[in-house]
Symmetry: none
Subunit: 236 residues, 4 copies
DNA sequence: TATGAATGAGTTTTCATTCAT
DNA sequence: AATGAATGAAAACTCATTCAT
């Protein structure tokens, strides 16, 4: 399974800072001082986004200092403002690009690839989730969205439209497929695809808050959950 | 069902400010002009806690200004410091007392009251949750704990010990009861009581982030979830 | 030699707080609650002065909190204001009364008691100083006057008039007595009695600042100083 | 005699603020409008130190507001924090650098320059002191060290090590030289070089506290003191 | 008189944002 | 475009002083 890129650092249209022109890598090869100048603006922007991600997920929006972001990104503080209008813009942009690639995957569950079962698809998803999210930076991102979402309504809306809606639709498709194949007996499940991902969300939260105190065997839990969904796991 | 008090404003022992003496509620109801002094210290403290709750849940820890808390509580800024050592202490104290009464309820599921089924008990719980949490201040509190928990490890630990552990134990008891009665077929569910509450947690998050855009029929969803747990809802 | 009272707690005329009336001990014997009320106002005032002395000498004027003074004095914060107009007044009053008794002694050197030598008188003084000032609270007071004097010109003036001037006069008398007796050869010393006490002042400062690092044998030093004054201590 | 620089404004190694890079004085004299940026960081730092000196000596540590220091230095409040970690650091740094150059002089008394007498050396020192300290900012600094030293033990220790110890050693050397030459008869004076400088210290204190009321002829007093030390001034 | 809770002006410190270079 | 020193508004916290009881 191809490794997912952690973040998508391509500048989002319209969400970037003042200048939209000259976003092309500048690459002044003739420059006498080859240090910073040879790094393209795009790479620099990516570095800021990556650094911001680290800092924001670790400390939350308000407690993150742009000074730290700049230092981590290896740029001057002012440079951030060449790429992002302000702290808000950086944060939103960063969250926007953070989960994109993952969600694309979730939105398009590998239904019936090779005539497979819905359960198999769901298991693949759960496994991907456990491996690619739990215990990684992505879990921090999910947690951060939950944490800061209320304070950034446009962000929540963006997320709903661009990510959640697709994810829910994908889940629903998967459920309907399962129903059609007779794997899932309760047809009303299709109305609440959230039930499919709820344990995943809760896993992220649990590990974030209580992981030190009482680690959760996420994979095992997700398996039990699938047993419920797919009506198996009866006593003997 | 008796209405739960939204918050428990009794000062937690040891968590209050410098002086512990003479904090007795004076409550001189006969006073003609209810001056500041006639308001008992307890009420004043409660006002601060309530105001803090509003502000913290609305803006998060870092973005909340004690100035605003004071204004909302109708006290001077300095007064907060008579009751709480600092912003941190106010926050933690407030979160600590916020869910107490509710959790007591959740921790002791009404198992087999009147020889009832596990499903009935679970339904009562779900209904209580939908009514007493969703759409109320308590939802904000839960969201806030999720949001800020990572930055307040002691708080997370406190919550785990005082609330979560009990809640999980209660759920497990309920599950085992259901298994014993034959209502629940998958015995492995008892290992992950989190699965029982996951949809509730997700409801809170969903309504907080996307409630405006795509309100969720929490009650209905929880019913479907119970159908999964209790193995019903097959295509009739 | 009689032990000097550490401080003179008699209220200074005119320097006290609002009410000058009813300074007489109130002694309400009929009071049902005999605790605080049975303590005379004078004792209470004395307690405040004593507590203030401790705190001010330890932390300096600005860094001293009236809260601490009140706590140490065993009274409520408001009570301080019944006796002193404000922090300034307390400080000044306190410094005024602090050294009085000692200075009275210094101002009236025991010249020729029993036809004794000037040197004997001076030695007695030095010994008193080493014993009753160095290493005691009084040293702190001296240091405090030096430290805060510049910020309290009226206090400095008071001190000059009431204490220093007398002390200088006493020293001069002693010097002149010594000159008359032929014990002191340099008559110009009488113009600068400060030279007589300079080592004492320096001792206080030294012990306060460097006493931990390099303690000074004050008594020995003062003896050498007297040898200089009285022209002795030549080799062999 | 060359005029001593009042303060040493070179940043002390390790005591300065976060960034140590690019602190080189830029000093673009050709600039038409000497904007803030054209002022070298060193000059700016010096301005803060100078302003701090004024304020601290005038009001003492606690009563000095950084706002005033900033205003006097012509910088914004935040700028102080670019150079000094906090108020404490500014104060200590400032006191540390304040007397350096002077003390170097005192520590190395011009013993026997040109085969001169100890008395001549001591007289030169006294004269330097009267001229370069009494009535100048330096007197304020000395007074401030005496005043605040107790509250800044590290500062006191620094002063003892870097200044006092050297000064005392220098004095002792001078005394021993005087003893060797037969100018000083009391050999025990070498044990207490403090006696040599005590009148200087007292002069500083006296002028600071009582200078307005009863100015002291410091030069004359120091001369009498030297007569005592050098066993002269007998009634002719 | 005595109390001590309440007040709010005042101070330190932080940090997003700007802008001269 | 990039830098990073400078800015100053904003926020936490303190504490002298007041005043209802």
């Amino acid at each position: 399974m191809a490794k997912l890129p952690l973040i998508d650092t391509r500048p989002a249209k319209g969400a970037s800072a003042r200048k939209t022109t000259a976003r092309t890598p500048v690459n002044r090869a003739a420059s006498p001082r080859p240090s910073k100048r040879t790094i393209g603006a795009t790479e620099r922007r990516a570095a800021i986004v990556a650094a911001g991600l680290e800092e924001f997920t670790a400390k939350g929006f308000a407690a993150t200092r742009l000074d730290d972001v700049a230092r981590r990104a290896g740029v001057a503080k002012g440079t951030i403002y060449l790429h992002f209008k302000d702290k808000d813009a950086l944060f939103q942009e960063l969250v926007r690009t953070a989960l994109g690639p993952l969600i694309v995957r979730i939105s398009n569950p590998p239904i019936g690839v090779g005539g497979g079962s819905a359960r198999a698809a769901m298991e693949a998803l759960a496994e991907t989730f456990a491996r690619e999210v739990i215990g990684t930076r992505r879990a921090d991102i999910v947690r951060m969205i939950i944490a800061e979402g209320t304070r950034f309504p446009q962000l929540a809306e963006f997320y709903y439209r661009e990510v959640i809606a697709h994810g829910i639709a994908g889940m629903r498709k998967l459920i309907e497929y399962g129903i059609a194949r007779g794997e899932i007996r309760n047809p009303k499940l299709a109305e609440f695809p959230q039930l499919l991902v709820a344990p995943m969300i809760v896993s992220v939260i649990w590990q974030g808050l209580f992981g030190q105190l009482a680690p959760l065997d996420v994979t095992a839990m997700l398996r039990v959950h699938l047993d419920l969904i797919f009506n198996e796991g009866r006593a003997a």
